[in-house]
Amino acid sequence: MAHGAGGKASRRLVEGLFAPLLFPGSEEPLGDAARVAVNGASIAFTTDSFVVKPLRFPGGSIGELAVNGTMNDLAVSGARGCAMVVTFVLEEGLATVTLESEVRAMSKALERAGVIMCGGDTKVVERGKADGMYITTAGIGSPLAGVTVDARSVRAGDKVLLSGPIGDHGITILLARGELDLEADLCSDTRSVLPMVEALAAECSPGIRWMRDPTRGGVATALNELARDCGLGIELLEEEIPVHDAVRGACELLGLDPLHIANEGQFLAIVSPEYASIAVNALQRVVGGEEARIVGQVREEPANAVLVTTPYGGSRIVEMLVGDPLPRIC
């Protein structure tokens, strides 16, 4: 199970098994989407699968995640998603009305995101498998002019930008499962981040070094991957990281770190220092980007690691997640 959680084990699976066999000879660090040349045109291409329990939760559902998730992978790779395909794996006995509401949700999400669904496939598996349904989407996109996303271009002194408050999605899901008997006025932040990425591209494209959407494994995992890929250190200023009160309360109660919690409507960007304030202002002007902040910077040391510093001079390393975040009582 740990291999699907987005953290260390996932990374080892991809790097150790998939990459050498499926894309041998590739020297680039793994990104959120691939660039493929087709008759001279460069196309961004990505896929993602969506497994979530419960299927519907405050703020969204699996269908919306499936659309927004792939749009976001394309966006943070520096591309505007233009078409998707979808596959459904459905559990035998799934209520038609459930399937119908997911498809409706996807249709609305597609419209909001400004992307078309142009095909798909459906399979049914036995009762007891697929948790109701699994959805996979694959998407293609056209590269945004002037934007290159490459961990190797990151330099010490670059700033870390975060588009908004973290932890909403993961905590919403945790609470929606009902095992912990907690209630809060929270909803998933699932949405397309393309409008914010486009705003960034419009005003600071030369300054964008790298972007990622911190989904499973949270900001900590995404930035640890970056630190490894660029060989530098990332410093986060704890008091700058936006977290909604209810997310904070749930994390304190359960002993979780918001930095490890999944997000479905946020992204991180590394921006050169000259463009940093232009970038954060550009994001804040986009509807939904009002809480964007500069939350840290890149530094030489500690190399390959992410450090969180407090306003009073203390610091701690934040590691990549091992498996899913678990509530604790100790």
């Binding site: 008997d181 907690l182 809060a184 929270l186 309360g249 109660l253």
Partner: protein, 111 residues
């Protein structure tokens, strides 16, 4: 051990004093009050929650006193003595036996 968080009692289950709802910055949870049966909390009280049970009522007085002591740290000797005076008052009975410093300075081995 022992992750425990302060929360405010926002509801007490009708008819039984031993279950309530506690709130921590907008997150609500059922809380068992049976361990505080000697001093049942009321709505608006703050309690310390551990594994869904209220362990102790939080004393606002003591919290204020603590902040005062901390704020006074590093100030002049006179201010320190003045602040120490608050401790001897034993505001909540949580100081234990009398804290007259000169008398207590000899708890060494062999007692």
């Amino acid at each position: 051990m022992c992750l425990a968080i302060p929360g405010k009692i926002v509801e007490i289950a009708a008819g039984q004093n031993s279950v309530g709802i506690v709130e921590v910055t907008g997150v609500r949870r059922k809380v068992q009050l049976g361990l505080l049966e000697d001093d049942i909390p009321r709505i608006g009280d703050w309690v310390l929650i551990h594994v869904g049970f209220a362990m102790s009522k939080i004393s606002e007085q003591d919290a204020i006193e603590q902040m005062r002591l901390l704020t006074a740290l590093g100030e002049t000797e006179q201010a320190m003595e003045e602040v120490c005076g608050y401790g001897v008052e034993n505001v909540s009975g949580r100081d234990g036996p009398s804290r007259d410093w000169p008398e207590q300075g000899n708890a060494r081995s062999g007692a």
